[in-house]
Every structure is written in C-alpha cells, then in structure tokens.
C-alpha cells in the first residue's frame, strides 16, 4: 500500500506520517511526499518567488488543478493507494465557509465544511481514496493534545502555545520535517493506544482523522 501526502508544510507531513505509521505499521517507503515541494528553480527564486510551493493556497491550487493528485492516482498500486489532503483551518476565513460559532460542534462542523469544499475543488467525489487531515486550527494543536493540553483547538495560536509547552524559551520553534517527526513521535501508536489517550479523543479533528484511517485504511491492510 502506498499513501501519497499533500500537506501545507513538510513539518505537517511529519506529524501525519507518524500517525499513519503507528496505526498501520507502514514504514517510510510507503509514503510519497507530493506537496509541498520546490516548484521553482533557483533563477525564479532569485526573481522573488517563494522557495517552497506550499501552504493553504498551494494545497487549494492542487485540489483545483489535480496535477500531483492525478499523477498519484494513475499509478496502479493494487487499488489500495490512499491520498492524504491536509489543511490547517487557521486561515479558513479567506475561503467560502460561512461563520461557524466556536461552540461544542465547531470542530466537526468546520471539518465537514472543509471536506465539502475539497470535493468541490476536486470536481469529483474521491472520498474513498482520500484521508482528510483537517487540523483545527493547526497541526501544532494535535501536538498540544499529545502533550496533555486540553481543548488545544481553542488555542488562538497553537504554535506559540506549543513553543511555550515544550519550553522553547530562547530559540523559537522552527518547524521542520525532522524536528516535528521527533516532537510528534508519541502519535506513532496503534489505534487502540491512541484511543486510550483522553487528550487525543478530546481533540475532535485529530480524533476524526484517526477514525477515518481506522475505517478506510486498516480493513484494506487486514485484507492485503
């Protein structure tokens, strides 16, 4: 089984890979990093373009254009390939999602809206193939839950809070694939172990992502 990952940042992918590895037993070679990546050459970058093609806009763009998505889906990997699409909802205000009250169903409503939006952008229902890593508000919130912080999704700035929680006092927390892989290692556990952690269950977007993996991916592994 191969799982392609479209994420806003490399560090987000590190967290996602830890979760998927723990729950499925799949290792590095089963994950293909599709986005973000270098879209421009050094000449473009010198001309002022961003070095890395990533972030909210890049993921949305990709859902519309389906370059990496189709690249990936056309590969015949025993029909058991999945595609992770990751979004942090922190910047969702820029997108056509109506105001959602931050009440008890905020997270699930936001996640549902995002899934509808993704389907619209893709112009096709690929939900059988897609795992929605919708982090509310940022992937760092999931890491806060891992560090036993309650209601992490309510945090206005999860990254700052994570810095504080992990005692990053002098050096700022600079997200990178390797660092986040290490910091989120606690999420590399089986479904049962993750579900026995109350802080994780209480994080609705993380919990929903785990359930989605359990529902879609794990049965395929058992049958494989």
């Amino acid at each position: 089984m191969i799982i392609g990952i479209i994420s806003e940042g490399h560090s987000d992918r590190a967290v996602i890979v830890n979760i998927l590895s723990g729950m499925t037993g799949l290792t590095n070679e089963s994950f293909i990093a599709l986005l973000p990546q270098y879209k421009y050459d050094a000449t473009d970058i010198a001309g002022g373009r961003n070095e890395i093609h990533g972030g909210w806009n890049a993921v949305k763009d990709e859902c519309n254009k389906r370059i990496f998505i189709d690249d990936f889906l056309m590969q015949d990997i025993d029909d058991e390939n999945f595609l992770v699409i990751h979004f942090d909802t922190a910047e969702s205000a820029q997108y056509p999602i109506g105001h959602i009250n931050k009440d008890g169903i905020y997270c699930s409503t936001m996640r549902e809206q995002m899934i509808i939006l993704i389907k619209e952008w893709l112009k096709e229902d690929l939900s059988d193939k897609i795992l929605h890593a919708i982090a509310i508000e940022e992937t760092e919130a999931w890491m806060l839950s891992l560090n036993k912080i309650k209601n992490s999704w309510k945090s206005a700035n999860p990254k700052r809070k994570l810095e504080f929680t992990l005692n990053y006092k002098t050096d700022k927390l600079e997200p990178s694939y390797d660092l986040y892989k290490k910091l989120s290692l606690g999420l590399k556990e089986s479904y049962a172990v993750l579900k026995s952690n109350q802080f994780i269950i209480d994080d609705p977007s993380l919990n929903a992502f785990l359930d989605e993996i359990a529902e879609k991916v794990i049965p395929k592994l058992v049958n494989a």
Partner: protein
C-alpha cells in the same frame, strides 16, 4: 532486349547481396553472376525458380554465366570468382563449401560450392511480400551464435546483502531502478553478481571486482542494522522462466573466515557438507591432524572449517554450458568512464569482450558479423555529424597522425561536415557521447557480451533527449537480441524512453524504510490512464513517483 533482361537480373542479384548484408565491395558484377549461377537463375527466370546444385567454378559457374549471361570469362579467372565472390559467400553463409564431400581439400579439382538452404529459402522470397521477413530471418540464422533462447530471470529474493535485509523483485526484460542516492540501487545490481561469483567459486575480492561489485569486509557485506542481530550469511534465490517448470537457484553465502577481510565466501547450497566426498574429507582431516601433531601450522576452528569446505578440483570446474549458470557467471555491472572508452587508460577490467568501464569497444565492433553490423548502423541517426564508424584493425591511421596521444583504441569516426580529406576523428578526439552510445549499442547487439547484465548510471555523458531515444532503442534491442538488463539512473529523461504498458519494460523505485532497509517498489500505471497528461520524467521530478529526497 536480351541485354536489358541480363542487366536487370544482375541488378536484382546485386540488390539481394546488399540486403543480405554483404559489404559494398561485394555488390559487384562477378558476385551477382556467381549468385545467379549458384541459384541456376537465367535472365528469363523468376527468383522463385531458384534451385540449389553443387557447382565447380570453372566447369559450372563460369560456363553458366558465359552461356546464359553472354559473358566471356576465361578458365583462368577462376581465382577471381573464388576470392571475390565465393569467399564472402562462405563467410556470410550464403554458400557452402564441398557439401557433397566435406573432406575435399581446397585445391582439389573437385572442389565445389552450393547455395546454403538458408540462402536458397531467402532468395525464393525475393520480390514477394515475404522478402523483408525472409531477410530478417536470414540475418538471425546466418550466424548460429546469433541465436537466442528467450530465458529470463523473473524473480530475485535477496536477504541480508548490504542494505537489503529482505527484498523481492519481479523483473521484466528491461528494468530501470531509480531512487535517492544511497537508497541501495547498486546493491541490488551487486547481489546478482554475488550469486554469479559464488556459483563458480569466485566470491573473492578479484572475482567480485571483476564483476563490478564493491567488495567490503565480511561484516559490511552482510546487512548490519541498529537493534538487529546480524545474519551470518547472505541468502539469494533466483527464479528463471522456462517453457517447462520454473528453474530456481538458491545460494546461502557465508564467509569461510569472518575475521579475514579477503576471505573466500562459499555457498552452502553448492558445497553442502553432506555432499562432500567422504574420502576427500578423510584425507583432509588426516592432513590437518598431521599438521597439528607436527605443530607446523597454527590452526583455528575457522581455519579448519575453511580447509574442510575448500572446493575440490573437480568441483571448481563447473560446466557453464548450462544456460542459467552461464547467465549468472557472465553477469557484470558496467559503469562507463570516458577515458577507458577512449583507450587512454590501461585496461582496468579483465572482463571480456567489453570491460566494465568501456574497454575493448573497438575490438568488439571490428568483430561484428553482418547481422550485428546492421543494428549498429542505427547509431548513425543519433548523431547529426556522424558519417561512418571505422574500425582500423591494423591501426594504420595512427601513422597518419590521427592519434597523437596514448590511445590504444582503433575506433574512428568520420564527420560529414568536415572536409573529406580531413574528417576522421579517433576515439581519443571524438566527443564522449558517441563512445557511450556505441558502447551500449555494442553491449546489447553483440552475441559475445553477457545475456544478463547491469548498467550503473546509464545517463553519464548523454544529453537528456539522447537518453530518451537511446533507452527506447535499447529496450527494443533487448527484445531482438534476447538481452536482460538492470539499469540505474538519476536522469528523468531515461524514464521517458520506457513504455510501462509493456510488461517487459519495468520501472522500480528503490528506497530505504524506517529501519534503513532497502525496499523496491514497481511503478505501474492503470490501463485507464493510457493518455496520461504528463511525461514520466515530469512525474518523477515532481516527486509523484517517490525516489527523490522528501525532507527538503
């Protein structure tokens, strides 16, 4: 009217000779007339009337052409017929010498010639729809060594070889491996060389180096990973396809002395203890006991074991008439460097006919038969400037000052854009691209090169578009010449030469898993994406296939 018919028939015979691969100097009138005589074709006959008969030069051939083609050859021109026509006919298997009495000497007055069955059957198809097919068949069968057997290595299972702890690869005929630097691509190529070496008791520093393997200390040849016990042997099993049951080769290879860097490695499956001659064992034990008693040698347990497992003389002379064994023992990893191709460095590789780094290209090409030559001329389309490839066997061009350096290569090229009197380039002076391309073509075309081999970094020195075109050509040649190859590359353009909807052409992504083990995955495309919008090279560059670093 008659003259017209005669000229027309002679012209047809000349065409036939050209199509059958004879060189230009053998498309002359005397050759054409000899072919007509041997086929008993008169000016009014059709080629479908051709028949074979044994003919003596002066009595039959000369008389026939004088009578039917209004020629006036005297009996003393016999030698011209023999030298200019019949000799090349024998060389190209168009005619047979003394088929009715092979014991006759060349100088016998009864010396006779006849068309070969192969030539007759080909000629019968002239001016018919089957002609192209017949010529192709002729060229394939013309030299028995051009024959092919269609055997392919289908599966490799590798356990505990360098970075490969446990991997299984289902091969096609033409296999390309991509992956990050250090992912273990070369180790896959090496594992096959390892089994080839051990099958002929040649798993030593020299034996492996001559096959292109990077030899290392025993504990580095065996997989070594954190938190895992190291195995004490390399296990490799291979499965070949055959028309009957699959043929399986298994090897469990371990160092005779783990503490000796240059130790010989042995194959448990080849030399099992129970398979050793009891008398031989007895004599070896007696010899060792004598040495211990006489204190002539300090013997460790490993040393004793090593001595007992030493193959006997009779075991080392494994026959390589077995086609599977032959494929494995001849297998080598080619990794070209331009200086070797130019012939300016002393030969480092003892592999023949082509050395691992490009040695011996000139000699191999000069020994090509007509069938092989035909394939090689395709090379000319790869280079706009190339007019002709010349192999100067006697190295006469050196004395003309065309090779002022130290090159030992006798390969030359003529440039179509240069002045005719001044247009010959030696391998030493030519561009490196043509040498690389020629090497690969020769490797795939020749019946003397290994049937199964590997090429590390095929893209070296080649323009991207040339890479694509070359790979398309090589994939085709591998089919026609019955070669099987494993290729590594870091150039995306190479992938654009592959047709992944053809089962015989396969692409593999090699990567290291979380524990560092090398894992291989085949890339395939769904049939429904036959009109995929992007080149495979673009997909690889985008990272969609994997096989690129993903942490930056």
């Amino acid at each position: 009217m008659m003259t017209q018919k005669i000229d027309s028939k002679i012209e047809e015979a000349q065409n036939i000779l050209a199509e059958l691969g004879l060189k230009k100097q053998h498309h002359n009138r005397i050759c054409a007339l000899t072919l007509l005589a041997l086929s008993s074709i008169k000016p009014d006959d059709k080629w479908q009337d051709a028949k074979k008969s044994s003919q003596i030069i002066s009595k039959d051939i000369i008389e026939f052409v004088n009578k039917e083609y209004l020629a006036d050859y005297q009996p003393n021109t016999r030698e011209s017929f023999r030298k200019n026509a019949l000799k090349p006919f024998l060389d190209y298997n168009i005619a047979l010498l003394n088929p009715d009495d092979p014991s006759l000497s060349l100088t016998s007055s009864k010396t006779h010639y006849a068309l070969s069955d192969l030539a007759l059957n080909t000629i019968l198809a002239y001016n018919t729809d089957n002609w192209d097919f017949a010529v192709k068949e002729f060229k394939l069968k013309q030299f028995p060594e051009n024959s092919i057997d269609g055997i392919l290595l289908k599966t490799i299972n590798i356990n505990s070889y360098k970075s490969i702890l446990d991997d299984k690869i289902e091969l096609g005929r033409f296999n390309v491996f991509i992956g990050e630097n250090g992912s273990g691509k070369s180790n896959i190529l090496e594992s096959l060389a390892a089994i080839g070496a051990v099958k002929t008791d040649d798993f030593t520093y020299d034996g492996l180096s001559s096959r292109g393997v990077r030899f290392a200390r025993p504990d580095l040849m065996l997989s070594s990973f954190l938190n895992a016990k190291q195995e004490d042997s390399i296990k490799i099993s291979l499965e070949f396809n055959t028309e009957e049951a699959p043929k399986i080769f298994e090897s469990t290879i371990y160092p005779a002395n783990k503490n000796d860097i240059y130790t010989r490695w042995v194959d448990e499956n080849k030399y099992p203890l129970e398979g050793i001659d009891r008398d031989l064992i007895k004599s070896k034990i007696k010899q060792i006991i004598d040495e211990i008693n006489n204190n002539t040698n300090e013997l460790s347990v490993d040393n004793v074991l090593n001595r007992l497992l030493e193959p006997s003389e009779s075991n080392t002379s494994d026959s390589i008439s077995d086609p599977y064994q032959k494929m494995l023992t001849e297998y080598a990893i080619f990794d070209l460097n331009t200086r070797s191709l130019r012939g300016v460095t002393p030969s480092e590789s003892r592999k023949t006919p082509l050395g691992l780094n490009g040695e011996g290209l000139d000699l191999l090409i000069s020994s090509f038969n007509a069938y092989e030559r035909d394939f090689l001329t395709q090379c000319e389309e790869f280079f706009k400037w190339l007019d002709e490839i010349i192999t100067d066997k006697d190295d006469k061009n050196k004395s003309l000052g065309l090779k002022p350096g130290r090159s030992t290569s006798t390969l030359y090229f003529t440039d179509r854009f240069m002045l005719k009197k001044n247009n010959i380039l030696s391998a030493e002076n030519s561009n490196e691209g043509i040498l690389h391309v020629l090497f690969y073509l020769a490797l795939f075309i020749s019946n003397k090169t290994p049937k199964l081999f590997a090429i590390d970094n095929i893209e070296t020195a080649l323009n991207p578009r040339l890479c694509q075109r070359l790979v398309m050509e090589l994939a085709k040649l591998s089919e026609l010449r019955d070669k099987q190859v494993l290729i590594t590359t870091h150039n995306p353009a190479v992938l654009d030469g592959l047709n992944l909807f053809d089962e015989s052409q396969r692409l593999f992504v090699v990567s290291r898993n979380s524990s560092g083990h090398t894992i291989t995955r085949r890339v395939r495309f769904k049939e429904s994406f036959k009109d995929k919008p992007f080149k495979i090279s673009e997909m690889w560059m985008r990272g969609s296939l994997g096989g690129v670093p993903d942490n930056f």
